[in-house]
């Protein structure tokens, strides 16, 4: 096809981030358009709807300064692509994959469609290698596994960035030296936040193994729709072509969804919950499902998407739909944060769906699953008692209840709390867990087999409540 004939001058309509071009011919759905402004600037857009004579295009860097007469639109005849190379490691790009670190353009080893194709479910390998993050509340209670997508549900002002950077710094699969890389995509976060990540990566030496895509708060909102896809296409290349284990940090997905909503509103689509479009589940899935492992290939993609829950509301559509797609979630709690506990992981609503296959004999330790269950049930009971105490004081409690309360406090202050540079091994975490479980009477450990109790329990036989 002669591409020069696919240049059109003038647009018939500009509304929000969208433009309409009339009198076109043969424009493909999803293809990329280059929009040249009268001032000489070029922006990239994508076809959202096409008919025999008309194309609707979303412009990623916004429609400011566009006019209806002088604007030139050239259709490329292909979907959005990205040039990929192993040389991208250590580089920083903007939200549209243009270098912003002063280096030259990427000399491509290959060029890929950023929307990718879905992995055939029968090509997937079920992830089973647990990652040691060195953080007890994750390793002990919600173990992360290579190839998993485990989001952090946070709130404004909570230390999710510190936690994400600690995970990126400490994450390892014990006993294996493998090629490791970090792909970081920022969507609408502030300059300060992004500088924090860059500094953290620099200090830990991870920067040379990292690829950064930055769309900051003052960058165009619509660009956020492609930023994570550029990052994930890069991650797929590093993982499945170069055999690396890639950790992808995406932040902040709430901003991404806002951008989707903006386009839906401009298109006057029927809104779903809270004004988000009906296809937001499918759209989010097209990002999250790009995590995983493929049978017979070396590498893996592990995703840690971060999102801030508006008003700490876990039922807000963004965390809600995310939770239905991802394999669990790490939820941060404002209450623990106020108590000065870092990381403020609220373990009760947390979950790692792939944990079961990644722990146990030969992976972490044989007693891991049962210890986790016992900790959960004991902590949940402690929390329930606390709400009771808040109403009527401690007088009415039985001695056993008081032991549970003590367990609950110690669990938060010793097990959950750790320093941002403290790296605990699985062994450390599980031993710590037994120290806490040994506060309880032996007969309370109903979820643990006798053999493990015999080898690890070191409390007084009746626990601390040998009383009346």
């Amino acid at each position: 096809m002669d591409l020069s004939s696919r240049v059109y001058t003038g647009v018939s309509k500009v509304v929000g981030p969208l433009i309409v071009i009339e009198g076109v011919e043969g424009i493909g759905y999803g293809e990329i358009a280059e929009i040249s402004l009268p001032g000489g600037e070029t922006r990239i857009g994508q076809v959202l709807e096409t008919t025999t004579t008309r194309a609707l295009v979303q412009v990623f860097r916004g429609t400011r300064d566009l006019d209806t007469e002088g604007t030139k639109v050239r259709f490329r005849g292909e979907p959005m692509k990205i040039s990929l190379s192993a040389e991208m490691l250590g580089r920083t790009f903007d939200g549209s994959a243009q270098p912003i670190d002063g280096g030259g353009p990427v000399i491509p080893e290959c060029i890929r469609d950023i929307y990718g194709s879905p992995i055939n479910p029968s090509a997937r390998e079920h992830p089973r290698n647990s990652i040691e993050t060195g953080i007890s509340s994750i390793d002990g209670m919600n173990t992360l596994v290579r190839g998993q997508k485990l989001p952090i549900f946070s709130g404004a002002g909570l230390p999710h960035n510190l936690l994400a950077s600690q995970i990126a710094r400490q994450a390892k699969v014990t006993g294996q030296a493998e090629k490791f890389a970090v792909v970081f995509a920022a969507m609408g976060i502030t300059y300060e936040e992004s500088a924090f990540f860059i500094r953290e990566f620099e200090e830990s030496g991870a920067l040379e193994r990292a690829v950064l895509f930055l769309n900051l708060a003052d960058d165009p909102a619509i660009e956020r729709i492609i930023t994570p896809r550029l990052a994930l296409t890069t991650a797929e290349f590093l993982a499945f072509d170069k055999g690396m284990h890639v950790l992808v940090v995406l932040t902040d997905l709430t901003n991404y969804c806002e951008a989707l909503r903006e386009i839906a509103a401009a298109r006057e689509e029927v809104p779903g919950r809270r004004g988000y479009p009906g296809y937001i589940y499918t759209d989010l899935a097209s990002l999250y499902e790009r995590a995983g492992r493929i049978r017979g290939r070396e590498g893996s993609i592990t995703q840690i998407p971060i999102l801030t829950m508006p008003d700490d509301d876990i039922t807000h559509p963004v965390p809600d739909l995310t939770g239905y797609i991802t394999e669990g979630q790490i939820v941060l709690s404002r209450e623990l944060h106020r108590k000065g506990i870092y990381p403020p992981v609220d373990v009760l609503p947390c979950l790692s769906r792939l944990m079961q296959g990644g722990i146990g004999e030969g992976r972490t330790r044989a007693d891991h699953a049962e210890v986790k269950n016992q900790l959960y049930s004991a902590y949940a009971r402690g929390i329930r008692l606390k709400s009771l105490v808040a109403v009527m004081g401690e007088e009415g409690l039985t001695p056993l209840d008081k032991v549970y309360l003590r367990f609950c406090d110690r669990y938060e202050s010793d097990f959950i709390r750790q320093a941002s540079y403290e790296d605990r091994s699985f062994e450390d975490t599980l031993n710590l867990a037994w120290d806490l479980l040994s506060l309880l009477p032996r007969s309370e450990l109903k979820r643990i087999s006798k053999e493990y109790i015999d080898s690890y329990y070191h409390g007084v036989e009746g626990g601390e409540c040998k009383g009346p």
Binding site: Y29, E125, H126, V270, G278, T315, L348
Partner: protein
């Protein structure tokens, strides 16, 4: 009902492929495509769109224009590209080779697609649903010259170690059997019989086609008469499902829907399992694929995958195919039911299916109903669940079959008042409400015993008393009363504290605790706890209830509840579920001994 014209599709479709175009694409927006020049097309006809031959289905007709939902990614599709009609509704292929296979939502075999196009699913990939080269050993079950009718068995092939696959006369057809293949090896496309009806001779192969949106005909629908045994204690005893019944499991994310669904798939006493992963996680499907072939089915001793069909349309696969996946699954279920099998179908999750409808409806700019869902949501849900049931089959054998449907629902924010949950509850007979609070405490299965219900309770109770042991109904009623009363007491404790409770109430709390932690809670990942057969369930119940009686008597004679709590049997109860068959007797004896020792407690005072 005359459906046979849709059955002989292969030749017609081949004829069509030589044709270059019927209509022309004029508009593309996501999965929705408009085409003109489509005069004469039928509603829900299957079409091929564009040069890549993407699979689509007509969902609106207006003049010579058709609106088509496309089951594959439409990126790159250009107005002006051709649309080719198939003259057939969206159909599935039915025949030997279904079990043990994983399909996508429109019945493309994913393992074969993997061999053809690699690790990623590329657009326009296709492969026949049934392996055309595999030979099956055919055993005739009729004679030449027989008068045969729809549903009659012509022969049988061994589809897998667990499944005998009957080759039946397709619905809508009857006549004289002119010829029938002899015992021998055949591929699915070989003609194995010729039926003469009037003056028309129809060759029959092992493949039938059936349009997914139409239910297959049956002779008569029957009431369910026995429970489906799942080995999950809370389900079998408190909220049973019937063979041929329908159940919904709604729950917020992380409450264990998928684990419950997988547990049912593994342990339910059905002959054939259809598992639909509709808009769910790819890694989960990989888990099922790796796990199920290695799992030994307790009844047959063979791998579970030898009697299971998997349909995987993960959340990142095209949305329209997700909408179709549920129909594809239930059509396969009906086909096996027609052979006289008991089929259990799990759909995880029907909310994703409903959302796919919403997404398509939004693209069509239809007037939305509640929360943006189309107004036909409730009728589509009803149509789907109504395809479940116990039935008497067509054909002369007088056979029976059943389909039990278990649909997971994923309500946004865990709010059961949303349209999908509510419309589902109006249809299904069993409601297993999953509870986030229970899940947070790692009480699994997190089925809330106060909110859930089963309308098959009476039928199941009688079955238990007849087949397992007496006194079952009384124990279940008492169990529900204890749990209900515990809930009330907790309210009181919240207000006035526990110290004011009389001893009788304290005992009730202990009883409830034992029921919850030792009976209702069941650990899916424990080798033995994962499945409890009816006999053991009954034994556990008996043991718990005889303890309750003795504890009451002890209380009357002055023993306190804190004394009773020191008994080691309370710890032993918690180990009943996970005890192996070898340990079981010993454990129950130890519990009995400990109960005896309760008499001595009085001496403590």
């Amino acid at each position: 009902m005359k459906k046979n014209e849709t059955m002989v599709g292969d030749d017609k479709r081949d004829a069509m492929n030589s044709k270059s175009r019927d209509g022309t694409v004029i508009r593309v927006t996501g999965p929705v495509v408009e085409a003109e020049g489509m005069a004469g097309s039928r509603m829900y006809e299957s079409v091929r769109v564009g040069k890549a031959g993407l699979i689509g289905e007509i969902i609106i007709l207006e003049g010579d224009r058709a609106t088509i939902q496309v089951y594959e990614e439409t990126t790159g599709l250009v107005p002006g590209e051709p649309v080719i009609r198939t003259y057939l509704p969206l159909s599935v292929e039915l025949g030997p080779g279904l079990v043990g296979t994983m399909y996508d939502g429109i019945q493309r075999p994913l393992e074969e697609i993997l061999r053809r196009t690699g690790d990623m699913i590329e657009r326009g990939s296709s492969a026949p649903a049934l392996d055309r080269t595999k030979k099956y050993r055919f055993y005739p079950l009729a004679k030449e010259g027989d008068e045969v009718h729809e549903g009659d068995r012509l022969g049988c092939v061994r589809e897998s170690v667990s499944v005998n696959h009957f080759i039946m006369v397709p619905p809508g057809m009857s006549g004289t059997l002119m010829s029938l293949a002899k015992k021998g090896e055949y591929v699915v496309t070989d003609t194995i019989a010729v039926i003469m009806s009037g003056s028309e001779k129809t060759p029959i192969t092992m493949i039938q086609r059936w349009p997914v949106r139409s239910p297959r005909p049956v002779r008569e629908r029957l009431d369910p008469v026995e429970p489906l045994i799942t080995g999950q204690r809370i389900i079998d005893t408190l909220f049973p499902l019937a063979r041929g019944g329908t159940a919904a499991i709604p729950g917020p994310f992380g409450s264990g829907k998928t684990v419950v669904q997988q547990q049912l798939a593994k342990w339910v006493n059905a002959d054939i399992i259809i598992y639909i992963g509709c808009g769910e996680r790819g890694n989960e499907m990989a888990d099922v694929l790796e796990q199920f072939p290695t799992l030994k089915d307790p009844r047959t001793g063979h791998a579970l995958s030898s009697r299971m069909v998997l349909i995987a349309n993960t959340s990142n696969m095209p949305v329209a195919a997700r909408e179709a996946s549920v129909y594809t699954g239930i059509t396969l279920a009906e086909y096996y039911r027609d052979m006289g099998y008991h089929v259990a179908l799990m759909a995880d999750s029907t909310s994703r299916w409903a959302e796919a409808m919403r997404e398509i409806s939004g693209r069509l700019e239809e007037m939305p109903g509640e929360e943006g869902y189309p107004a036909y949501l409730s009728s589509r849900l009803a149509d789907f669940y109504e395809r479940a049931g116990r039935v008497s089959l067509l054909g002369s054998g007088g056979h029976e079959g059943s389909i039990s449907v278990i649909g997971a629902v994923s309500p946004p924010g865990g709010d059961f008042s949303e349209p999908v949950t509510q419309n589902t509850l109006r249809i299904v007979k069993v409601f297993w409400a999953l509870d986030a609070d229970l899940a947070y405490q790692r009480h699994f299965p997190a089925i809330n015993w106060l909110m859930s219900y089963s309308l098959y309770g009476n039928m199941a109770g009688q079955w238990w008393e007849e087949h397992v042991g007496p006194d079952f109904i009384r124990m279940i009623q008492e169990m529900m009363e204890i749990l209900q009363r515990e809930n009330e007491l907790e309210e009181i404790i919240r207000l006035v504290g526990p110290e004011t409770l009389p001893e009788s109430d304290r005992l009730l709390l202990l009883k409830a605790e034992i029921i919850r932690e030792s009976y209702l809670m069941q650990y899916a990942f424990d080798e033995f706890d994962t499945y409890t057969g009816p006999k053991k369930q009954y034994r556990m119940l008996k043991s718990i209830f005889s303890f309750f009686e003795r504890a009451e008597r002890a209380l009357d004679s002055g023993v306190t509840v804190s004394n009773i709590r020191t008994l080691s049997l309370i710890e032993l109860f918690a180990r009943m579920g996970s005890s192996s068959p070898e340990e079981e007797d010993e454990l129950f004896q130890a519990i009995a001994r400990d109960m005896e020792s309760m008499k001595n407690l009085k001496g403590a005072f």
